[in-house]
Each structure stands twice: as C-alpha cells, then as structure tokens.
Symmetry: C2
Subunit: 404 residues, 2 copies
C-alpha cells in the first residue's frame, strides 16, 4: 500500500481521543471537563470516562476548583509533571548540556560542560558525568527516569540506529548510538538531529508555541534547521531534512567540509569563522584578535572573534557581517521554499553577537520577497542554550500526544 | 486554540471512513469488499454499509466478478468516472491548456492554445474559447461539469480570492479571479498556483503516485516548485511555498523581476534565457540564432535557442548549459532542506531540450550531498504538458479523499 490508511475502529478512536485530551491540556493549560468537551468536540460522558482513567493513572491532576455560585464547583485539570520524567542530552562539538524534563515540560534541573577535545571516548565519559550531575541535582534515582533522549549534530539511520555524517564530532560518523546508550543506562533511548530537536523544543515550549509552520535555524559550530509542518517535526524521507548549512549560495565559493563549494556552512558557520580568523592572524591583519585569542589553542573561537570586533577590530567586524549576510541568504531561500509563519533563530553563534545578528536580520528584511515576510515573524529562541537539550527530552513524550 | 483538534464523534468517523474507502479505491485500483475491509482495517459490515451507499450514489461501480470456485463470486469495485467531471484550465504566460477530467482521473479530452499576447482581457476571451472546445470535444454540456479548477502562475490570497504577484501575466497582479470565473461560468471555481497543481497531478496520477514526500520542479517561463508532504500538497503558511525560482544562488548576480539579484529565475528561466539570447543577438555573437528566430517578434524563445544550439551554435549551447547548472543548484538546495524521496521535473523548458536537461541532471548527481540523493529518484513528469491542467481539475476532487 502506498499510504498507511490507518486504523479507525473503536480502539483507535478511544486512544486517539485520549491523546487529543492530553494535547489540549498541554497546549491550552488547565481546563475543566466542560472546556475539554467543547475543545475536543466530544460529549461529556466520553470526557468523564477519559479523565477518570487519566486521574487513576496519575497523568492528570486537579489543580484548582472554580465556582460560578450555583451547583458543584468546576474542577480544573492539568497534566501531572510527576507522571513521567526524561533526561535530554545535547551532545555538541563544543558542549554537552543535559536537562531533566517532566511531563509538563518543566525543566527540573540542568547541567552543562564545555568540551574542548571532542574525541568520541571522552565524550561518552563526559555524558556519564552530566548524567550523574543531573540525578544529583534533581534528587532522582535513575529508576525514576523513564527514557533518555539524545541530540547530536548528525543523522541517525532510523533502520539501524547508527549515526551518519557527524562532521563536528570525531569518531561519531558511524556509531550504533542507540545501542551504546541503551546498554550504558538500561533505559529506552531516542536520538535525533540537534537542530530538529531544538525546533521541537521551541515548538512545544518556546517561541513556536503559537505557530503551525515554522523553521528554527540552529547557528553554531555547524548550521542546520528544524522544520515544523502542521505542528509536527518534519524529518524528511530519510531523516535528513533541514541541511540548510549545505545549501549553496555562492557558486564556486569556499570549500566546505562536505567536499563541495559555496555552502553556507563554509562561509558563515562557527568553524568557518574560526578558519577565516586564523587567516587573519596568519597575515597579521587583526592586531586585536591576537590579543583576545587563547594562546594555548591558537584557534580563534567565535567568542574571541566577537570580543575583538567589539574592541573595534575592523577585519573581525567585517568577518561577522559577511557571515550574517550569508546566513540571511540561507534564511531567505528556506522561507521562499517553505513559507513559514515564523522563523526562530537559536544556537550559540548568536550569543552576545549583535554585529552578526543585526546584519543577518537587516539582510533578511531587505532581501526576502516582501509578500513572503510581510506577515512572517522572526524571533530569537525562547529557550536559549537549553533548547536542544529540552528538545532531546521532549522527543520522549511525543507518542503521548496527537497533532493533526 | 492553537491547533484544530478536529471532530471525532461518530459522524466524523463515518465520513472519515467513507473518504478512506474512496482513497483506497483511488490509490489501489479495483478492490473486493474483503480487500477493502483488510486495507481500511474496518469490519465487513461497515464496509458493506459504506459500499451500498456508494453504489446508490453512483460513485462506485462493480467492474468485474471473480470466483475462486466455491461460494458466491467476489465483486470488484472501482470509482465510477461518470460520478463527477471537472474542467481544469492551465493559464500560463505562453499558453492556455484545458482538460476535462473525470472522477477516476481519466482525461476525457484536452485543448491547447498558444498565447503570444498575454494581456488580461485577451486571456479571458481565450479561456472562453478553450472552454467551448472542451465541451464540444467531450460532448458534455456545461451542466454536466461540476466545478472548474484554474492554475495560474502566481498566488491566490485565500482570504480574498484575489491574485497576487503574477509576474508573467500582465494585469493579473490583483484580480478577483475566483469571482470573475464563477460569474462567467456559473460554477464553483477553485484556483491555485500552477507549479503546486502540477505537483498535485503528478502526485495523484503521475510520477509521484508511489511516493509520500516529493518536490515537483516546474520549469518554464518562470520557475517554481510544488511540495508534497505525506501525500498532501503543502501550500505554506500563506499559500506561497515553492518559490524556488526566487531563491538566491549567486550573491550579487543578475537582476531579477522581483527586484533582487542572483535568483535562479533571473539566471535560468525561460524569460532569463530570452534575455540572455537577446544580448547575444545584439552583439552579433550567435549567427545561428539570428537564423532560427522569428523575424516578426525578434524575441528569442527557448524553442529557437534550443534549435540554434542543436545546429551547433556554441554560445546557445553554453547558455543552455549554464541555465541547467543554476537550476540544478536550486534542486540541490531544495532537497537539502526537504529531503524528498523523489524529485520530478516538469514544464515546457525541458521539452526537446537535452542540452539543458543533461547538464542539470549531471550537476545534481555530482553536487548534491551524496547521502541525500543515494536513495532519491529523479524523474521527468509523467503527464507532460497536460500536468498542470490535470492538476487544476484534480484540486476539485480533493475534498472527497483522505490522506493522513
């Protein structure tokens, strides 16, 4: 069969309705049974049955009672955070960030480690460390954690659970990630591309919470985006959507790690900026940068380039502006294809980096098709540096909900 | 409410199941009641009720009986073409093409008029002419036509029914198209972007019939694409998705009609080729083209450029190859973002134009991310020059079906 025609018997309908009620509580906040009946378009008896089961399971709780004077006071119901807790790990080329997230999307605690050496073995040890810290901070035992979600800069082959194309972590280009983590922690593990999970977090709990179709641009060491269509993450046919970093905007431009030329990532990503700044140093073109750089590594980071630019270094200012312009063209091209109602900008590249950010926004507003952006919003990530880790945990809860 | 949570009572379920049965018959061809029960995951009694109603309505017919020796022979059921017929009009910058399509997707007849003067008033008169020819050829009266579907190179503001941004038809940049056609023919009228409707036709009846996520590139006077996500057309937030012609691939490149620089449409569309060829003529760089061109208009068409190239004109060959390369980059960038399982190439620009087509395919295979295209298919439109007109009619039938 070309399409899955789906089940549509009574059992299907029942489970579908339960997922729908959970989704209304997630999206709308506390509701009475009457509210739920109206919003779900289900009769009151069905709602009562569903809520009774959910109260018994502990996935829903009464959070308040309101009375209009006559009759019994109305009970307001909400999802119960304690029903399930998951850990999300965001494993990047420069950091490992973890959170414990509860069923309502509340961050119970967070922990971050900056990574300098991104060798595969060391990364696994650092993951252990972050896990320990998270359990310690949340005062939970591992038994109280239901699942672990992983975000990493690459793709998972859904059929094999192996990583594919993780350019920014050495040794992760072909690893059975799901098996490794499942064995380490004895939990069900889910994994997905970091930009896609950043988008999921913003969609459910952040700047995309009011939108149906969004693109979330994840600007960091690499550049990617997560695409949301009809309030669902769109992974593409083989889980490789959102490779905006490898779209070509300058035919015959700089060489990219992917072996091609003129990709945005080769012109404007964290690693491209480092490379461009190294050339500045080599040619003695940036006196300020040679002061702000860490003398031990001698590889300029975005933070150091931004600092030199803030101190007035013309070459570094120009470098950041150029990068902002190229990323803007990637944004313009993506919205020309997808026509989202909102674009969200996240990732560590925009942190304290106004020169880059302002040039990027200016270019988008100037050069995008005016009809396409006149009603489109552009916002910075609401969840900041935690977005991807929150998304990593959020993926574990998705099966409980229904978005149509 | 942020999401439409949808209806899910018994009436919803009933209508949903009817649409599902129609969809199975559309997608799978003739089925017995037992086949339908298995494929729809519905019990035999429900299927029997649904089929009885459909037989009574005349939307389904018994097409054959098969016997396995024992018991009653099984009846095979199929959609009945005569249940509904719609007209599709593809109104382009260089042609008006019409079809009469029946409920099964069969083209009952077609008619095409090449357009030289694309003035708005004349276009409306030519539409009348195509309508008359279609009714004459199909021997149907207008009363036997249920709806009229329009495809045109621009956008319809869904809220007002007015056209927006129709660069390639003079005077169509702000017209109440739906009202005009409804009044002219006294029928319900639907209208949509031509590239999107080409994609719809290929999805339902052409080269996309086996796929869930596809991009259909419509290469003609302008360049656009239609995006299919989960077997549904994805229109974007405001009906403006698929503007691949206005993605920028050459920063600071040639000026585009949209006022920006370096768009694919400014480098490689039908109109860009004409413009580039005019420069060749002006500078006496293409002796062959000055022979193949129509002396009355002196505006080289793609057909004339292709002919000159086939006769060995180096400059015209180079012009077509460059265009093929730029369109390829648009395809590469689009698949990097969407990750479709198939790309379909349609439109009048590829007709008898091997030099362009071969360069385009060669570039896609060489320069796309290998992981992204290793399992992706690339095919030429199965419906050819009729694709968009078929799509225009197909949109009228979409409400009868259910794709999830």
């Amino acid at each position: 069969m070309k399409s899955g025609y789906g089940k549509s018997d009574q059992t299907f309908l029942r489970n579908y309705n339960i997922r729908k009620v959970r989704t209304i509580l997630r999206e709308e906040g506390p509701c009475s049974r009457v509210d739920l009946s109206v919003k779900a378009n289900l009769d009151k008896k069905t709602i009562t049955n569903i809520i009774n089961e959910m109260l018994k399971n502990g996935e829903v709780e009464v959070v308040s009672k309101s009375s209009n004077g006559a009759g019994r006071p109305k009970e307001n119901l909400a999802l119960n955070g304690e029903y399930s807790r998951c850990i999300g790990l965001d494993i990047g080329g420069t950091h490992i960030t973890g959170v414990v997230l509860d069923f309502t999307g509340k961050v119970l605690c967070e922990h971050n480690i900056d990574v300098v050496n991104n060798d595969s073995d060391i990364l696994f040890q650092l993951c252990d460390l972050v896990m320990e810290e998270l359990l310690e901070k949340s005062k939970l035992s591992i038994d109280e954690i239901d699942k672990i979600g992983i975000a990493f800069p690459g793709h998972i082959d859904i059929r094999t659970g192996r990583t594919v194309l993780s350019e920014n972590i050495q040794g992760w280009d072909d690893l059975p990630i799901l098996d490794i983590f499942t064995e380490k922690y004895g939990k069900e593990v889910m994994a997905n591309d970091c930009s896609r999970l950043m988008a999921l977090a913003e969609l459910r709990y952040g700047a995309g919470n009011d939108e149906r179709n969004i693109i979330v641009f994840d600007l960091g060491l690499g550049i990617g985006c997560g695409i949301v269509i009809n309030r669902k993450i769109f992974p593409g046919s083989t889980g490789m959507s959102g490779e905006v970093g490898h779209t070509i905007v300058k035919v015959d431009g700089s060489r990219c790690t992917c072996g091609r030329n003129g990709c945005i990532e080769a012109l404007a990503s964290g690693w491209a900026l480092s490379k461009q700044a190294m050339d500045l140093l080599k040619n003695n073109e940036s006196p300020m940068l040679s002061k702000t750089i860490n003398k031990n590594t001698m590889i300029p980071t975005t933070k150091e380039i931004v600092l030199a630019a803030k101190l007035g270094d013309d070459k570094c200012i120009q470098l950041l502006k150029n990068a902002g312009r190229y990323v803007a063209i990637g944004i313009i091209n993506s919205i020309s294809i997808i026509n989202p109602s909102k674009v969200i900008i996240g990732g560590r590249l925009i942190r304290d980096n106004d020169i880059f950010y302002d040039e990027m926004i200016k270019t988008v507003k100037k050069d995008a098709i005016s009809e396409l952006i006149k009603d489109m919003k552009i916002e910075v990530s609401a969840l900041g540096d935690l977005a991807t880790a929150i998304g990593a945990a959020t993926q574990c809860f998705e099966e409980f909900f229904e978005y149509e």
